[in-house]
């Protein structure tokens, strides 16, 4: 059976895995954003906590994905939830890091000017700091998404489904078609999502911040 025939014959399975993969990525990146952006803003207000939390998050990042999934499996058992917990955890760090540095690297003169003309702390955050940090934050979301698409292929290992499932089946039975049916779509998903977010990032960067580095 050629690869194309295989794709057609198994389109339901492949499509199902693809949708599940998107769910895994979508939910964990969303969860990562919900945790990381507020936490990043918090850390930028209370910078003395920043080194501890950022270093801790960095440590977690160096633990191989396989190990984290293994622990999740042993702690929470097989299924969707442990996979989502681990993937969300991995999604947090890049967004957290970029939110924090994006805000803290806003030039002090802008903050000084904003305060001097009478903006409240909240207005400074919403009108000056966040808009200027936005591009960096979206960059973090892009990194997180690429990571999560990758780690989500491992989630098949603990029964969470997704395109990884097809790869696992292929590896276990040494079936090239299965491997490619999982690998190619997941690679395409990663590249396309990364490209899309990159486009969004360019689109939302104000004209005034492009080209010339301020």
């Amino acid at each position: 059976m050629t690869l194309i025939e295989f794709f057609i014959a198994n389109q339901k399975d492949i499509l199902g895995s693809l949708i599940r993969h998107f769910q895994l990525v979508g939910i964990s990146v969303a969860a990562g954003m919900l945790i990381a952006i507020p936490l990043g803003i918090f850390l930028s207000r209370f910078q003395r906590f920043a080194p501890i939390i950022l270093n801790f998050a960095g440590m977690i990042q160096t633990i191989p994905g396989l190990v984290m999934l293994g622990f999740a499996l042993l702690l929470f058992g097989i299924g969707l939830l442990p996979a989502l917990v681990v993937l969300s955890l991995y999604a947090v760090l890049p967004i957290l890091h970029n939110t924090y540095t994006g805000i803290t690297e806003v030039e002090k003169s802008y903050i000084e000017a904003a305060r001097g003309i009478g903006m409240t702390d909240g207005q400074i955050l919403y009108k000056v700091e966040l808009p200027l940090a936005l591009s960096s934050i979206v960059g973090g979301i892009r990194t997180s998404t690429v990571f999560t698409v990758s780690w989500a292929t491992l989630a098949g290992l603990i029964g969470a489904g997704g395109l990884g499932d097809l790869i696992w089946t292929g590896l276990a039975t040494y079936n090239t078609n299965y491997i490619l049916a999982g690998a190619i779509p997941s690679a395409v998903v990663a590249v396309v999502l990364s490209g899309l977010i990159h486009l969004i990032q360019k689109k939302i960067t104000p004209r005034g911040l492009k080209g010339v580095s301020a």
């Binding site: 030039e107 003169s109 802008y110 000084e112 000017a113 904003a114 305060r115 001097g116 003309i117 009478g118 903006m119 409240t120 207005q123 009108k127 000056v128 808009p131 200027l132 104000p206 004209r207 005034g208 911040l209 080209g211 010339v212 301020a214």
Partner: protein, 375 residues
């Protein structure tokens, strides 16, 4: 009217403001100046409560500002900083309108303001309103910075070394524009600088600070004529000459002191070499006791000199001499009648103090009129 009453501020051990009391009248252009660390910027920043004093009270129009909401206070005071601080994510129009928008002006109200203000600095609305700060030159950016401070028509505008980062030509243009705008709109401006030129040009009142205290608060004219402290005179350096124009100038004021002198026993070739090295064509000859003996020029050596002769043997004595304390006018006359084109200035003990050439005279006159010359 802004009034400081016994205002003090310390950072740890160091006192930046020491019991400051003074008053700024409405419509005045007040310049705070002094050496770095004198407390001028701190003083400025207490007015819009970016810095809170440790003790003392600041009143604006009779209201104690510590009782006001700092955010509302700042919206009622314009603020311009050296780094300009235009928000790079906003267009020129959005930057100028930022305070009116904070004050919830409707668009029909703030847009004409933006147009008027841009017109005020000769930047047409259609060409400039939708540009981003990064698309403007430094001078244009700071013009917008000034307009942003004026947009909500605050009676008071604070400026913290606003032109410090601009090139001299742009700086001068902006100084004139701001002065013109201030007069036209009758703003009270408090302006920090460390540049005395700028202070003299812009100020109605100069507040000279040092070590957290006011050394003198006076009009530029008064400050020039009667500096209250040696530090102020020193700070004004080159400007002192402007008042000396009518004082009793003497020969000492015009002479140059770096002159080539040699003993009469020096031999011809050596003296020629010395003059060549210094790129001059004559030198002063001294007696054994260092008193003035005469002069010798390259020309004389060429016509009379032979190698190995002492220059004292054929020196000239016809060059006019003046005493150090000789009146300027007398000196001037002698210089113009001198066949050599210069006069020698002598101390009371007849030793040589310097000499006056037409160039050194012209330079000294220029400095007395316009301040220090570059070369």
């Amino acid at each position: 009217m802004i009034k400081f009453e016994n205002v003090s501020k310390s950072y740890g051990e160091s006192k930046v403001l020491k019991d400051l009391s003074f008053q700024i009248n409405q419509g005045d252009f007040v310049v705070l100046i002094g050496p770095s660390g004198c407390g001028k910027t701190t003083t400025l920043r207490t007015i819009n409560r970016l810095i809170e004093p440790d003790s003392g009270t600041i009143y604006i129009d009779g209201n104690d500002i510590s009782a006001l909401n700092p955010v509302e206070l700042r919206r009622s005071i314009g603020y311009v900083i050296q780094q300009i601080g235009l928000f790079p994510n906003m267009t020129v129009e959005e930057n100028i309108a930022v305070v009116p928008k904070l004050l919830k002006y409707p668009k029909e109200k703030w847009q004409p303001i933006v147009k008027d203000l841009l017109g005020l600095v000769g930047m047409p609305y259609d060409e400039n309103a939708h540009k981003y700060p990064s698309e403007l030159s430094g001078g244009q950016q700071q013009r917008i910075g000034v307009l942003r401070a004026l947009a909500a028509s605050p009676p008071i505008v604070l400026m913290d070394e606003p032109f410090g980062a601009l090139d001299p030509i742009t700086r001068e243009a902006l100084q004139e524009e701001v002065k013109r705008i201030q007069k036209k709109l009758k703003k009270t401006i408090v302006f920090v600088t460390h540049d005395m030129d700028e202070a003299l040009k812009m100020a109605d009142v100069i507040v000279f600070m040092s070590g957290g205290k006011i050394l003198q608060m006076a009009s530029p004219e008064e400050l020039l004529q009667h500096p209250a402290d040696p530090l102020i005179s020193e700070f004004m350096g080159k400007h002192r000459g402007t008042v000396n124009i009518n004082a009793n100038l003497t020969a000492a004021d015009f002479m140059k002191t770096r002159v080539l002198k040699a003993s009469g026993s020096m031999q011809t070739l050596q003296s020629v070499e010395l003059m060549r090295n210094r790129d001059v064509n004559s030198m002063i000859v001294l007696n054994e006791d260092d008193t003035y003996a005469g002069t010798v020029s390259l020309d004389t050596i060429k016509t009379h000199g032979k190698a190995g002769r002492a220059i004292g043997e054929f020196m000239e004595t016809g060059v006019p001499t003046v005493n150090l304390k000789e009146d300027a006018r007398e000196t001037f006359e002698k210089l113009y009648t001198s066949p050599a084109g210069y006069v020698v200035v002598l101390n009371d003990d007849m030793s040589v103090a310097g000499l006056i050439t037409k160039t050194s005279m012209a330079k000294a006159m220029g400095e007395a009129l316009w301040g220090e010359m570059i070369s």
